[in-house]
Symmetry: C2
């Protein structure tokens, strides 16, 4: 396992950790000032800045882009709305490729509107992914399927386990991989096996946060690493045993705690926890 304690070499911050409404013009210099070499921006931020300006800003500060959040959601407008969603996903590919991202993060999307058929939602996600893949390949931009916690199956993401994501990758071949996010996957009895199955080529991103006890909100009550119950070092060990050598991206949605604090304090805490408990 890599030694994280001595420097920030493998650290990246997903900008949602600092509240999503912050601009890249605020966040990028702050990361650089904190000695953090990686960033995981959201599409809205790239769009606000403009792709070229975002790329220049990020490049000028020497940051690597561990991934762009997020696309996919192929189920959101049902089968008849898939083309519209695909158009938006192609724009997402352009944005991610335009800023030199390691990957574009895709989530499943929930049930299609008015439906209770999760198998159908999963089939539609697979269809959308297959349709997007040639475009992403031609842009040389890897697509990274992020399984989200089963508590999001209804309204956000019908892809809920790493096994599902691996199955999709196997069916589709090169150009598509996975995100391993400890928050979404820590409970999974098959996690170690599926991380090994994914392997170095397929694990495109590794996301860090923690599961708080109690958790008071399904969406925006994630914990800072070390404040919860996830065995972070063990999971990182599995990911690195599989050959992953990329950045560790901190992604914390925290309405009641970290989103209330100054950005510098949040970043300093991320650095400290990354070095000590991850």
């Amino acid at each position: 396992m890599r030694d994280l304690s001595r420097d920030n070499r493998f650290l990246s911050i997903n900008t949602a950790t600092l509240r999503r409404e912050r601009s890249l013009a605020e966040v990028v210099p702050a990361l650089a000032a904190a000695g953090i070499p990686g960033i995981g921006p959201w599409r809205e931020q790239i769009q606000s800045a403009g792709v070229k300006a975002a790329a220049r800003l990020i490049g000028d500060h020497g940051l690597a882009v561990s991934g762009v959040s997020r696309a996919g959601v192929f189920t959101s407008h049902g089968r008849t709305g898939l083309q519209q969603v695909l158009d938006d996903n192609r724009r997402a590919v352009d944005e991610a490729a335009g800023i030199g991202a390691r990957c574009l993060v895709l989530i499943g999307g929930g049930l299609t509107p008015g439906s209770r058929d999760i198998a159908d939602a999963r089939a539609l996600f697979a269809e959308g992914l297959a349709a997007l893949l040639p475009y992403a390949r031609s842009a040389n931009l890897p697509l990274a399927i992020e399984p989200l916690h089963p508590m999001y199956a209804a309204d956000r993401a019908c892809i809920n386990t790493l096994a599902q994501a691996n199955d999709l990758c196997e069916a589709l071949g090169p150009g598509v991989g996975v995100v391993v996010d400890v928050y979404h996957t820590w409970w999974d009895p098959n996690l170690e096996r599926e991380i090994a199955r994914a392997g170095a080529k397929r694990i495109l991103a590794f996301h860090l946060s923690d599961w708080l006890v109690p958790t008071t909100d399904l969406l925006v009550d994630r914990g800072m690493m070390g404040d919860g119950v996830i065995d972070l070092k063990r999971i990182r060990g599995w990911v690195e045993a599989a050959g992953f050598e990329g950045l560790c991206e901190v992604e914390i949605f925290s309405q009641r705690n970290w989103w209330q604090r100054p950005m510098e304090e949040v970043l300093a805490t991320c650095v400290e926890r990354y070095r000590t408990v991850c």
Copy 2:
């Protein structure tokens, strides 16, 4: 599939649907008055009434006991506290057997105190279950492992999928089975397969409620059947295709809605939804 629309023959109500603090003396006559033939009481209620009095009350009203909630939780006091928890579980077996229950419902228990090791919690659950089983067998009382939703993995239940429960059943042999609860399992990509694997002998109980969108609380915001997004008929179809012929037990924890309503209204709604959307 059985036709539920014509009568209440296969309906049972878990008493938590009517708020846990109600006594059996209140609930049992209300169920009988509503023409509901089954009850799933909680241990606290049996203890408050006394086992013999509870058995008499339930028998006098002609109710079947689809299951007793709940025991297990072998992880709650760590490995050193297992004997204490086993003692309590043996009392639960006595209580459930004493009122003629179809099964005793066991949940996993969360991480052991101070631990982040979910694999260890799972091992401890298996140990506790194996230790309890001879006692339950001698009481002729089936133990029913209920996998709970992964959002409860940290603090309530380390058994989160039907596959885990089936693995435990296979390892331990007769006397132990599973609960299929739609709320906890509907998202599982392997649900159909694991229900078939469980089969008629192992499926000891089937629990109904619904997943609301949005869900505003992790514990006490379950929906009435039909108010959420779970494909109830499809899952019941799988359960019955596996050979299940038991009662359908409605279990709804609903702080903001159903717990606020008169018992008679809740029961009437359960009956109506059971007949129309389940």
